[in-house]
């Protein structure tokens, strides 16, 4: 992993959450190699920041759900290494942001510090290549469901599934997660991929990154609890690997399992997921006709 990041805050001036992104960006750049990009200037003048933005992993800090900084990065053709959204973090940590003032109180500053610290810590987490490689075998066989000209595949051995259309492949205390063939086909051409942060501890059903196609944004719901030890960085430049091969090259993240024995009761085997898949295919079809 690189020790230098380009930091792109939204700097939304008319909202408290936007005011906070500048603060977070400052905290991230103070005393580090990281460099800040001014979103306003970048919007009008590519040349000033293009080199910094293209040569370093990009960290995007958005204030609210409008995600102006993410959109700006998209417009400039940059791939986002990591992004954080202030309102989401505030909600996660139970902090209510003020709506009547734009000035930051101690409470907001504390949230900014916590968010910046978490990233700096994560940055020093175990690098990918230090993690002992585990072999995840390709599925030997698939169960198949056909509907009109569509063919949906579900691996028969070694995989678990969630009702949120994510899969889990377990080897020892490690697991890979990804999205199922059915979901991949429902989304159609996947153009963007946001990985979960490496080093973060996810609880079962937490968000483990997301993918976006021309049709929709799909949030990966992590089927189990675990620590993210690796992400499939190839998907950053070629998210279409998920469409091509959702169970092998299209894997999303690798986890170190923390509570698998208890949690596997809530996962589905191939036959049970197949039942759900068939139902979803029929419903999708009905929806499509109505829509």
């Amino acid at each position: 992993m690189s020790d230098k990041y380009a930091v792109l805050p939204c700097n939304g001036l008319d909202k408290c959450a936007g005011q906070m992104t500048k603060e977070i960006a400052m905290l991230l750049c103070e005393g580090t190699q990281n460099e800040m990009i001014c979103p306003v200037f970048y919007r009008v003048a590519d040349a000033r920041y293009d080199k910094i933005a293209k040569e370093n992993p990009l960290l995007v800090v958005d204030g609210c759900g409008t995600r102006c900084a993410s959109k700006l990065a998209g417009e400039k053709g940059l791939k986002i290494f990591r992004k954080m959204t202030v309102t989401e973090e505030a909600q996660k940590r139970g902090v209510t942001l003020p709506t009547d003032t734009l000035r930051l109180s101690e409470k907001e500053i504390a949230l900014c510090t916590a968010m910046a610290d978490e990233f700096i810590k994560e940055e020093t987490a175990v690098p990918e290549q230090m993690v002992q490689a585990v072999e995840f075998p390709a599925p030997a066989e698939y169960l198949i469901h056909k509907k009109d000209k569509f063919i949906f595949r579900v691996p028969t051995e070694g995989f678990y599934f969630s009702e949120n259309d994510c899969w889990l492949q377990v080897v020892g205390n490690r697991a890979r997660i990804g999205i199922t063939d059915f979901m991949q086909q429902s989304l159609s051409d996947i153009m963007f991929f946001t990985p979960p942060p490496v080093g973060v501890e996810l609880e079962q059903f937490d968000e483990a990154g997301n993918v976006e196609s021309g049709k929709a944004v799909f949030e990966l719901i992590c089927p189990v609890s675990g620590k993210v030890v690796a992400v499939n960085t190839e998907l950053l430049t070629a998210p279409e690997r998920i469409n091509e091969n959702p169970y092998e090259q299209g894997w999303v993240a690798e986890l170190e399992l923390t509570n698998f024995d208890e949690e596997k009761d809530f996962l589905l085997n191939t036959a049970d997921y197949m039942k759900i898949l068939k139902k979803k295919v029929d419903e999708f079809h009905v929806n499509k006709q109505k829509g």
Binding site: K71, E75, G77, D189, M191
Partner: protein, 136 residues
């Protein structure tokens, strides 16, 4: 005045998605408006039949394929039929620069869709010029 034959620009024209229509419109825009003297299009459906006459359309000239989706129908079909592909363009690569854009449907493009289509056409035209120079 160039004595070179025209570069072949071949769209997938996919029927299922808006990206197929964008590929088709971008190619039409290139060969009809941007560089009618240097480029021509060939019908992919005709190439797929494998007819000798259809393949003669390649004219031993370089090809640019324009594909809507990663299935890469145009690139794969042209390659399978022996076309000399110099550039494989993808609509999705340009779409990635316009996150959240709503280009329209497989039958009709929105103004946003047309703007992106023209951007793709400009890219094709640029490659057409370069290829003609290289071939000289």
């Amino acid at each position: 005045m160039s004595t070179n034959k025209k570069v072949n620009v071949i769209a997938c024209s996919g029927m299922g998605k808006v990206y197929g229509l964008m590929a088709r419109e971008a190619v039409l825009h290139t060969v009809q408006r941007l560089c009618p003297e240097q480029a021509k299009t060939l019908c992919l459906a005709y190439i797929v039949t494998g007819d000798e006459e259809a393949l003669a359309g390649f004219d031993n000239q370089p090809c640019i394929t324009v594909d809507g989706c990663p299935a890469m129908c145009s690139a794969k079909s042209v390659a399978a039929m022996g076309g000399d592909i110099k550039e494989e363009l993808k609509v999705l690569d340009v779409m990635k620069l316009h996150k959240g854009a709503k280009p329209g449907t497989a039958t009709e493009l929105t103004p946003e869709g047309w703007a992106i289509t023209e951007e793709i056409a400009a890219k094709i035209a640029e490659r057409v010029q370069e290829i003609q120079k290289e071939e000289r």
